[in-house]
């Protein structure tokens, strides 16, 4: 076809006809779109819709380039005074959320904890039988094999009568607590064991296993309540097996 064109040229009215045919395109297209029915119509309309969207986008893009756009950046958030401008924002723990909510949660005894389900530890795992007596027949003493916390003023019961032995080597006072938002870890002193998920017996003994909720002293962090009081105790949940690692890692419950 092109060879023929090269040799013989175009028809005399070719260009005129071409121009007119092209201008009729719009009418023919709309006629088709109106008259089509059935599956063919559905497919066609879907395709046409996508086309139109693309067209609109390009038109808008062209328009934007023509007009000079006033910088419509809304003033960014995080306004700081002049003396803080050149400094990186100091990371700090956010202010405590409603004290009332916390109190309500405490009362209900339900908390949102990072580790909701922990493997319950049986008695044979946590407590080891100690045989006593002249013939080593009595077996009423137990020794705790997991890490535990005893308070400041702890004194042992008279050795002859104490049923649960908590070895000094397994007594810990500090925990490495991570603040979940700041991603910073602090070594904070433990104030007490709040709840051990395996058994209330362990809670009263002060046994710390994975999933135990402990109360830690957070005065180091410098948190303040709405009323202006400094917060010095918060709960944290233990995330590792302290008896295997030799240290207590916990995550702070905010």
């Amino acid at each position: 076809m092109f060879l023929h064109r090269k040799r013989h040229g175009y028809r005399l009215d070719h260009h005129e006809k071409k121009r007119k045919k092209e201008s009729r395109e719009a009418h023919e297209r709309s006629h088709k779109a109106r008259k089509m029915i059935g599956l063919k119509a559905k497919l066609y309309h879907k395709q046409r819709h996508a086309e139109k969207i693309q067209m609109k986008k390009t038109i808008k893009m062209h328009e934007q380039r023509k007009t000079k756009q006033k910088n419509d950046d809304k003033t960014p958030e995080g306004a700081v005074p002049a003396y803080l401008l050149d400094r990186e924002g100091q990371s700090r723990a956010k202010v405590l959320s409603n004290m009332i909510k916390q109190k309500r949660k405490e009362k209900a005894g339900k908390w949102e904890v990072p580790l909701p389900k922990v493997r319950a530890q049986g008695e044979t795992e946590v407590l080891k039988v100690i045989r006593t007596g002249k013939r080593q027949k009595k077996a009423w003493k137990r020794m705790v094999t997991k890490v535990c916390f005893v308070g400041d003023g702890f004194t042992r019961k008279p050795p002859k009568y104490e049923r649960f032995i908590r070895p000094m080597g397994l007594r810990f006072k500090k925990a490495h607590v991570t603040h979940p938002e700041l991603k910073a870890t602090f070594c904070l002193p433990i104030l007490g064991v709040k709840k051990n998920p395996s058994s209330p017996l362990y809670t009263s003994l002060g046994v710390i296993t994975k999933g135990t909720v402990v109360e830690v002293n957070v005065s180091e962090l410098g948190l303040v309540t709405q009323g202006g009081k400094v917060i010095w105790g918060k709960y944290a949940q233990v995330t590792n097996n302290p008896e295997n690692d030799g240290c207590i890692n916990a995550v702070l419950l905010v």
């Binding site: 003033t75 306004a79 700081v80 002049a82 401008l85 700090r92 410098g222 709405q226 202006g228």
Partner: protein
């Protein structure tokens, strides 16, 4: 009954500059400050008795009786002992204790707040690009001034209280009329980076309050003519951001910058006089000993009434009054300048005369964010990110005491008009009022939900305004 023979001592009253008052005379060792005050007042022959504080050998204050002071210092009782007397402010500002209102209205953090020189108006600039004027008698919003396009970083009242200048992060400066809340003149542009500080020319140099100095991150300082709305002078010389500019009462401009220097300029022709070097890191803040008096101009806090009034009188009268007050506070010594820096120290300078610092004040364990002289220029307070505020002697730079109590960095401090109380705002969202005489916490003001960015005490001593990240402006009263 045997009467004890109390030891007697020869004392000589001296004022702060060393001039003697009267001749030496005999007093018993158990004399109390009240009796000393009576005697001194009689010698001074003033109409009304002025409250005075007495210091032995410039250091120890006579608190209970002269005897205890003498014993502590082991002074020789044979010689004449000079006792320095210092007049304290006649009026007494009472500590603020309650939050009377929370003014909401800003839609972003409140970054700066300032009372007008008479204490009649309160203005606050915020991250939502507006400057709001608040009516203090009803504690409600008065006007909202719109015109800035970015955070309003610093605001400054003219010393006659008739204009407010505000600078924003887009390096524009606008002037506002507090009565109508509308803009005066056109926006002043010229700086290329954000405005860090604004300072007006003192009233006693020019009662029209025409010239304004602005410092910016681009390292230059511009002096603007607010009447004509154009830039008069551009002072360049700093190589990094200029953090603070202060217009001194003797016609000198002091600027501090992140390039670790403080420069002194002559305001008339913009020529640099001196460069004060010594800091090892950014210089964050400057304070002049006459700051308070320059800020309040012709307004005398002792004459304040419950309802603050505008300043009345012709320009000349105002100028006279301002000049008198300025001379009284300045005394015979030239102005002193203190600069606080990121290198945890402060320097005390005599900028008009020497290049070398008078004293270097160390002790902070984190950067110093703000320094302020007390209104009577005797004390100096420095607020630092190490959660403490330190009080220093304003004359010699000697360390006096530390005020601890905050659990977060202390951002700003403000003195009460009688120099007895200090309020500080910090990142731990509380404000604390301190009694500087005892060094103890007077009042704890919790209530903000987030960091407190700006604090100001009204010159008539009645109110404290504080604004912070929680978008509220709180007013505290007694």
């Amino acid at each position: 009954m045997t009467t004890e023979d109390v030891e007697r001592l020869l004392i000589q009253f001296q004022d702060e500059n060393g001039e003697v008052l009267g001749s030496p005379f005999d007093v018993p060792l158990d004399i109390t400050p009240d009796k000393l005050q009576l005697v001194c007042n009689a010698l001074l022959q003033k109409d009304e008795p002025v409250p005075l504080a007495f210091f032995v050998r410039g250091e120890a204050e006579v608190v209970s009786s002269l005897g205890s002071c003498v014993k502590a210092l082991e002074v020789e009782t044979e010689q004449v002992l000079p006792v320095v007397y210092q007049p304290q402010a006649v009026f007494r500002v009472r500590a603020v204790s309650r939050c009377t209102s929370t003014l909401q209205g800003h839609t972003e953090a409140v970054i700066s707040t300032a009372f007008s020189p008479t204490g009649k108006y309160l203005a606050s600039g915020s991250g939502d690009t507006t400057v709001r004027f608040w009516d203090l008698t009803t504690e409600t919003p008065h006007h909202t001034a719109r015109g800035h396009t970015h955070w309003v970083l610093s605001i400054a009242w003219s010393p006659d209280g008739k204009k407010l200048a505000s600078g924003c992060k887009n390096s524009q400066i606008c002037l506002w009329d507090p009565v109508t809340g509308s803009q005066i003149g056109k926006t002043l542009t010229g700086h290329t980076k954000w405005i860090t500080w604004l300072c007006w020319e003192p009233l006693h140099l020019n009662p029209e309050c025409r010239y304004l100095a602005s410092s910016s991150k681009d390292g230059s300082i511009r002096v603007w003519d607010t009447v004509l709305g154009r830039c008069e002078k551009i002072l360049t010389g700093h190589t990094q951001s200029v953090t603070c500019v202060k217009w001194g009462g003797d016609g000198l401009l002091y600027t501090s910058s992140q390039d670790r220097t403080v420069k002194v300029w002559r305001a008339k022709d913009g020529v640099q006089c001196r460069t004060l070097q010594g800091h090892a890191h950014w210089v964050n803040t400057l304070a002049l000993s006459t700051d308070y008096v320059l800020r309040t101009g012709a307004f005398e806090p002792a004459t304040a009434t419950i309802n603050p009034q505008d300043l009345t009188g012709s320009l000349d009268e105002l100028k006279e009054k301002a000049l008198q007050r300025y001379n009284k506070v300045r005394g015979s010594a030239p102005e002193r300048l203190v600069s606080g820096s990121d290198d945890f120290t402060l320097f005390l300078w005599n900028p008009a005369q020497e290049k070398k610092p008078l004293a270097r004040m160390t002790g902070h364990s984190a950067l110093v964010n703000e320094v302020l002289f007390s209104p009577d220029t005797r004390l100096l307070a420095s607020a630092s990110f190490d959660k403490s505020i330190k009080i220093w002697d304003g004359r010699t730079g000697k360390y006096l005491m530390s005020l601890r109590g905050h659990v977060g960095s202390v951002y700003q401090v403000a003195w009460s008009a009688d120099s007895r109380l200090l309020v500080s705002g910090s990142s731990d969202s509380t404000l604390k009022v301190w009694d500087v005489k005892t060094g103890k916490l007077n009042m704890d003001l919790p209530g903000h939900a987030d960091e407190v960015y700006a604090v100001d005490w009204s010159p008539d001593g009645q109110r404290v305004a504080s604004g912070g990240k929680d978008k509220c402006l709180r007013i505290w009263r007694r």
